[in-house]
Amino acid sequence: MTLSEKTDPSAKKQRNWAATILIGISIIYLLFILYIPTLNLFYFAFRNGIGPFFANMTTPAFLHAAWLTFILSVITLPLNTIFGLCAAWAIARNQFPGRAFLLSLIDLPFSISPVVAGLMIILLYGRQGWFGEFLQEQGIRVVFAFPGIVLATAFVSMPFVAREVIPVLEEMGKEQEEAAKTLGANGWQIFWRVTLPHIRWGVLYGLILTNARAMGEFGAVAVVSGNIRGRTQSLPLFIEDAYKQYETQAAFSAAVLLALLAVVTVILKEILERRTHSNRRTH
C-alpha cells in the first residue's frame, strides 16, 4: 500500500465525529450515484444465468456491432496518436504567440456536445453539405456510412493523447534532446531513443483513454450513423436500440461488455498513475 505517502500519519488520531460524518456522506452519495447503478448492471446481465448472456453474444446484430466498435478503435487510435504527439511536441517545445489559444483549441472537442459534433459532420459531408455534392459524384457516402462514424469517433477522442503528453514533455525539458543532437543524432533517433522512453507512460495513458472514449461514444455516432442494425450500429447504439425494442437481456449483455472495458480502463489508469508517481490530472 502506498497509503502512507498519501495520508498524514497523524490523520488517524485526529479522526473525530466530523470525519465519520463526512466519510459517511461520501459513501452514501457514491452508493446512490455510482455503486448501486453499476452493480445493477451486472445483476441484470447475469440474473438469468450465464447462458442467456452468451446467447446474446452470438446474434449477428451483436457480432457486427462489436466488430464495428473494434474497427473504429483500430482506426481512431493511430490517427489521434500521431496528431496528439505532433501537437504535444509543438506546444511543449515551442514558445509562440497564441500558445494558450492553441491549447484551448485542442481541448475544444471535450466541451462541444457530441450531438453538435455529429451535426457539424452532417453539414460538411451530408447531401446538402459543403462537400456533399462532390462526394456524391464520386460515389462516396460519408454520412449514414462508415467514414462518417470514423470521423465522429476521431473527433470526440481527439484531445486525449495531446493532453496527457504535454505535461510530461514539459516536465522532461529539452536538455537531453539537445545533448543528443550535439552528439549527432537525427530527429528520428532523438525521438525513439530519448523522447519516447520518457513519455511512454503518458502516451500509453492517452491511448487507453482514447480507446475507452472511441469504443463508448454514443451521441456523435448516433447522429451520423443512421443507426442501421447490422450495418452502421456500434455497440453503444446497439445497447440503446435493444433497450428501446424491449430486448433488455441483449442490451444488458452488451452493456456489461462495455462496462468491463471501462473497468479495465480504470484499473490500467490506476496502475499507470502509480508508476509515474505524478499527481492526479484532470481531463
Partner: protein, 300 residues
Amino acid sequence: MAVSSHSQQFPPNYRSKRQSLLETIAQIPWTWVVTYVYLGIMLLVPMLAMFTKAATESPENIWRIATSPIALATYDVTFVTATFSALLNGVFGSILAWVLVRYDFNLSIGRFTLPIKNFIDASLDLPFALPTAVTGLTLATVYSNNGWIGSWLAPFGIKVSFTRLGVAVAMTFISLPFVVRTVQPVLQEMEREVEEAAWSLGASKWQTFWKVIFPPLFPTILTGVALGFSRAVGEYGSVVIIASNTPFRDLIAPVLIFQRLEQYDYSGATVIGVVLLLISLIMLLCINLLQAWGRRYDVK
C-alpha cells in the same frame, strides 16, 4: 518527431525574399503541418460549416428558431438541470476530495487491509470510462418505478426515470469526477503548516477552514463545477435513455437537435447547435479565467 531546434521555430525566419510561397511552406516543420491540418479538417472547417450554415438564415429567422417556445423549454431543462447537477457535485465532490486527501479509512483487520479508500479513489474515474449508453441504461433501470432505488422512492410519489429528475441524475453521474479530480491535487499540495499555524494562533477549526483552507480552494472548486456543467450541458447518451424526451417536460437541447435532424430540419438543428456551441466556448473561456484565478495562490 524531429527535434532540430533552429529550423523548428514557427513562424520560420524568412531570410530570402525570393523564396516562393511553396518553399516557405516546405520549411514549416511537419509536426506543425500535421497539427494544423488535422485541427483544420477535424475541428475548424466543421465549425466554419456550422456557422456559415446558420448565417444563411436571416437574423430574424435565427432569433425566431433560437427563442421558439420549444427551444426555450429545452434550454431551461438543459441549463438549469446542468447547473443543479454541477453544484450538487460541487458540494459532494469537495467533501469527497477532502475525505480522500485527509482521512485514512482503509479497514485494517490484523495484518490484512481492506483498501476501501483506494477502491473509492479509483472507482471515481468510472463515470469517465463508462460509455454513456451504458450509464443511461443502468440508471434508467435502477431509478425506474420497480428498480432498486426507484421502488423505494415511488411510495413517496417521486418518479425519477422518464422525468426531469432522471435528467438530473444522469447529469450528476457523468459529471461526478470533475470536482473531485480538480480539488484533490490542490488539497494534497496545500501545506498543513499554515493550518497548524492558524490553530496555534488560537483560531477555531471552523475559522481555520473558512479563512485558511477555503479561500485558495474556492477557485478550484468553481473550476470543477464549470467543467462538470459544460460536460452536463453537452451530454446526450445517458439522458436520452433515462428521459422520456417529451417537449416542455424533460427534453434537453442536444436531443432537440437530434430530433430536428431526424426531421431533416437542418436550419433548426444548426441554430440550436450554434447556441450550444457558443455556450461551450463561453464555458471554456470561464474555465480558463478560473484556472488563472486559482493559479494566483500558487506562491512557491
